[in-house]
Amino acid sequence: MLKNYLKVAFKVLGRNKFYTFISLFGISFTLMVLMLTIAFIQNELGANKPLSQKEKILLVPGLRMEGYAREEIVEIDSTMVDGAWKYDTTKTENILEDQINSTSNSWVGNKFYENHIKDIKTAALTSVFSPMQSIDVFPNDRKLTLTTNATDANYWRIFDFEFVEGQPFSDAAIENQAFQAIMSKSAAQQYFGKKASYLGEVVTWGKLQFEITGIVKDINTSIPHLKHDIFIPYTHLPPSLLDYGWGQFGNMQLALLGSSSKQLETIRSDFRFIEENFEVQEEGYDKLTIKERTIEELYANNVLQNQERGSDKTLRWIVLVALLLFILIPTINLINLNSTRIMERSAEIGVRKAFGAHTGNLMSQFLLENVVLTGLGGLIGLGLTFFAMNWLNNSVWMENTQLAFNPNIFIYSLIVVLLFGICSGLIPAWRMSKMDVAKAIKRNQL
């Protein structure tokens, strides 16, 4: 039976070439966009190095201070003393927590980290680092701008960068302010030119010189806090960058690693405890907030241009709805095309029914035809995806992105293809298989 259905399926495809072209184009193009989108999401947010542990990482990009509005209540008591009125005035101040009067946002200070976060018991590891501004260096009297990050040793334990050569900073190197640097491969190539090894080479940064002790593979994600050209021990930072302002602020950011993704909630609870017990000394401010985010929340904050916790869920819904809509449009189009196509075959349906086909037989026949059609569209879509990925990976405007074809994407696409075939074939197949036999036979010639 399957062979018979397949024969008809291929004949039908060849019979109406324009319809087949429109259908295949719709399916393959949609699939290509879907697969590229998934590949892009995986590139940005997949558990790829250095974010293999991303589900267990909590970042603290900054702190926030808030000052609430106040209202002063003056109570005047009057009493008669020796025939004269005596007035007693009492002033009380109410803090209006729903009216924020002043805010101050900044990165985290090293002292705040040392005093409140470093030894937090619910985290397996904590790290302090400073993704600073760009610096200019001059190899061979040529100006080169590098993005920098000053890190501790735990940074490399939390973010598992792939080392091409060398190794991460040791605790001793951080403690002793070792003049060591880790560079990304592309930055090292720019600075030193192409070499077999860069270990032992020296980078000159103003009056300081750092020996290269590690080279890491360039990373693809556009998530900040990770993509830098050169890394140095954070203990080289001047005190003015480590801490400033009121003590809790500074030029640092924090990363915490939980023992599991669930543990992050416990760490968050600890942060709320710290906030409640933190005594704000500065006049005009009442509350300190730790702005911790998961990697996905941080990414969603960047995309949605907000500062909300839980933005990742919003972004996930937006992407999901957009993808569903994107699939829905060609599916409706295919349902329409299929209905017309199957209608043309009503006499065939009538004959098949007359000779013993029941609704289930006809449904499976038309669904198989659709799965064949969508399968072909899927294959073309896969080819187009390879082509488009290659093109995008080599284009200059997606330099942070290195889309990769992986089995997950293939499985996603197979599921999408199957859903496509079933959704677009089910409704017309059901309608036509229910057609009255005598009427169907009369409708047209085969």
Partner: protein, 221 residues
């Protein structure tokens, strides 16, 4: 045996009600070759559709081989048609996308017969209509007479007890029509198949055992 009791068929639209069959009582005995005649629109094909379980009566009962089929669900009716009935249509209704052999195998496909057995039975049926050498041809490569012979092969491949033919010679010239009629007569004679044939051709009808005449949906005898 086919038995119709008080069969009425009314077609309804929003505005019009058409009485296609009016209280038909009729029996066709096993091994009988019956022709149905009447003017266009008198209900011949509707009557054949009732016998072939391709349509349900508005009222009355259809009994085939002593089975009252009124309560049968769609799937059970399909199975019954597949096992007991064979159809021949005026316009042949061969599936153009399939070669002759696959067209002939069609009833066996829904019976779950193995591919090897299907092919053997299809060859046998095609041989019976003299078209074994056209097995791999497509319907578009055949003449009208050959197409109708393929349609007959398809109708007999499952060895049904009843063959229903709706103007099987209507689209053929007299020579080809006679060829097809001869095949039907031999099926009736040699295989004892019960045949009910709708026709406009008095000469063809005269070759059958009995003529049933219809006029405005009623039997005229």
């Amino acid at each position: 045996m086919i038995k119709l009791q008080d069969v009425t068929k009314v077609y309804r639209t929003d505005t019009v009600e058409t009485l296609a069959l009016n209280n038909i009582n009729l029996s066709v005995e096993d091994g009988e070759f019956v022709s149905i005649m009447g003017p266009s629109g008198c209900g011949k094909s509707t009557l054949l559709n009732m016998m072939g379980l391709l349509d349900r009566p508005s009222d009355g009962q259809v009994t085939i081989d002593e089975k009252e089929l009124k309560g049968y669900k769609e799937k059970a009716l399909a199975k019954f048609r597949n096992e007991h009935l064979g159809f021949i249509f005026q316009s042949f209704h061969l599936i153009g996308d399939l070669p002759v052999v696959d067209n002939v195998e069609l009833p066996l496909l829904y019976r779950g017969t193995s591919a090897k057995e299907r092919k053997r039975l299809a060859e046998e049926a095609l041989e019976a209509v003299g078209l074994k050498n056209r097995m791999k041809h497509y319907p578009s490569q055949l003449s009208g007479g050959q197409k109708q012979r393929v349609a007959i092969a398809r109708a007999i491949v499952g060895k049904p007890s009843i063959i229903l033919a709706d103007e099987p010679t209507g689209n053929l010239d007299s020579n080809l029509g006679n060829e097809v009629m001869d095949i039907l007569l031999s099926l009736n004679r040699d295989r004892k198949a019960t045949i009910v044939m709708v026709t406009h051709d008095e000469n063809m009808a005269l070759k059958t055992n009995r003529i049933i005449r219809l006029y405005d949906g009623s039997l005229v005898n």
